[in-house]
């Protein structure tokens, strides 16, 4: 069997993205050669009008169906298509992504509300995981995102998260809020 065919079989059976280094070991070729084989695989897939594509996510490679096939997959099976996260779960996920490692009470401080059920959902879905415990009373756990989160977001590493600064409200909104909440004579005090 050619290394190309073996590469495709591995990217097919894997349950998580496989780093280039591991592929090189299994295929017994140099990492450069792995990258070349992946390129060749993708051009082969493309040329044959295949419904599959090899993608790099979460620091590794894996085969996926092409997005154009998604409507068929939705029709075919509901389990192949992902469940939708609630707005609350998504907000908690955003806080964990940018503030990790972060504790339950730190998340509650930012959101102004307890987020236990959202946290449980995210843990269960494998998008976040425990990353140790704080040496505080009660030894609260801290959480971080998992490689699965990166894969589900389609990015290679946390560095590729959208910059948080781009999402701070614009100056006019901040100004309006400050104006609203300013005590009458605060300026003079």
């Amino acid at each position: 069997m050619s290394p190309l065919a073996a590469l495709e079989a591995i990217l097919f059976v894997t349950e998580a993205p496989v780093p280039v280094g591991e592929l090189a070991e299994v295929l017994e070729v140099m990492p450069d050669e792995v990258e070349r084989l992946i390129d060749e695989l993708n051009s082969n897939l493309e040329a044959r009008g295949s419904g599959l594509v090899a993608r790099a996510t979460a620091g590794g490679w894996r085969l996926y169906s092409r997005p154009e096939a998604y409507p068929y997959l939705e029709r075919f099976s509901s389990s192949a298509t992902a469940r939708r996260l609630s707005s609350a779960a998504l907000e908690v996920l955003a806080v964990v992504a940018y503030r990790q490692p972060v504790s339950r009470s730190q998340i509650a401080e930012i959101r102004g509300v307890d987020s236990d059920s959202a946290l449980r959902s995210l843990l269960r879905l494998g998008l976040i995981e425990e990353a140790g415990r704080l040496s505080l009373p009660g030894n609260p756990a801290v959480y971080r995102t998992t490689p699965l989160f990166l894969e589900k977001l389609g990015i290679g590493s946390l560095d590729e998260l959208p910059p948080l600064a781009d999402h701070v409200p614009p100056a006019e909104v901040v100004g309006a809020l400050e104006e609203t909440f300013r005590p009458g004579v605060a300026e003079g005090a």
Partner: protein, 257 residues
């Protein structure tokens, strides 16, 4: 924790406050503190009547709001205690900082949802190795300790019902808030588009209705302009150029559904 009170659905006191601010926003640079404080306290009173859990968070923020409102009512030449004044300003700054942080994460969460939806269309195979591998691998890694496994078991054995905030795309009614989130990103990208193309992927009338409500909501906030040549014509949708970071875009009565 999601609260359903009167016509509002909110996730805790910061979310409630943000919703009230949006509702009482005259334009983007003017918000009426007095209205917000009165309504905020009315919600707390109703929550108490409904025996909902009015947590200390709600009350701490209420205390700050009451003080700010009282302060605003003082005559300009009134004598004030400088220490009290400084303490109040600190409280105010803390509340503002928390509101802005909360808004920032709500905003970036929308982008994360969008990215996940895009990435979600690439579906991996999850069946694992399909050939019988004779030699078991020497060192399996269980990414949990005994305590961790017990926690997972407790959650799983509690059953799928334990996850009220996971809804299934195909079964549940569409969420207007989700449609708002999605349209905000899509319209910002496409600038000018038609309602028909925005709902091209919908398969049920009820989904189209959700998008229509979402579009009205976006028009109300000035995020989009909507026009229609005649009553049977295509509904045209234009992005007004207001940023996705705008406070007004973030909260609505459809939130946290």
């Amino acid at each position: 924790m999601t609260y359903h009170v009167s016509t509002a659905v909110f996730e805790g006191p910061l979310d409630l406050l943000l919703q009230l601010i949006t509702r009482h926003q005259v334009d983007v640079t003017e918000v009426r503190l007095a209205d917000i404080v009165t309504e905020y306290l009315a919600y707390l009173e109703e929550m108490r009547r409904l025996d909902l859990d009015v947590t200390s968070e709600f009350l701490l923020i209420a205390a700050t709001l009451i003080q700010l409102k009282a302060h605003a009512l003082l005559p300009a030449d009134a004598e004030v205690d400088l220490d009290e004044e400084l303490a109040l300003m600190e409280e105010r700054d803390r509340l503002l900082a928390r509101l802005l942080t909360c808004v920032t994460f709500k905003d970036v969460a929308v982008v994360i949802r969008h990215r996940m939806q895009e990435a979600n269309r690439f579906v991996p195979r999850i069946s694992g190795i399909d050939q019988e591998i004779a030699v078991p691998p020497p060192e399996v890694v269980i990414p949990a300790d005994a305590e961790g496994l017990a926690r997972i078991a407790a959650t799983v054995l509690a059953g799928p019902k334990d996850e009220p905030d996971l809804d299934h795309l195909d079964l549940d009614l569409p969420s207007v808030q989700a449609a708002i989130d999605e349209l905000r990103v899509r319209i910002a990208e496409e600038v000018t588009t038609g309602f028909d193309s925005l709902v091209a992927h919908c398969r049920r009338p009820v989904e189209v209705a959700a998008y229509f409500l979402a579009l009205l909501e976006l028009a109300r906030w000035g995020f989009v302009e909507v026009s229609q040549e005649d009553w049977m014509g295509e509904i045209e949708v234009r992005h007004t150029g207001k940023g996705v970071g705008d406070l007004g875009d973030l909260t609505s009565e459809w939130a946290a559904s």
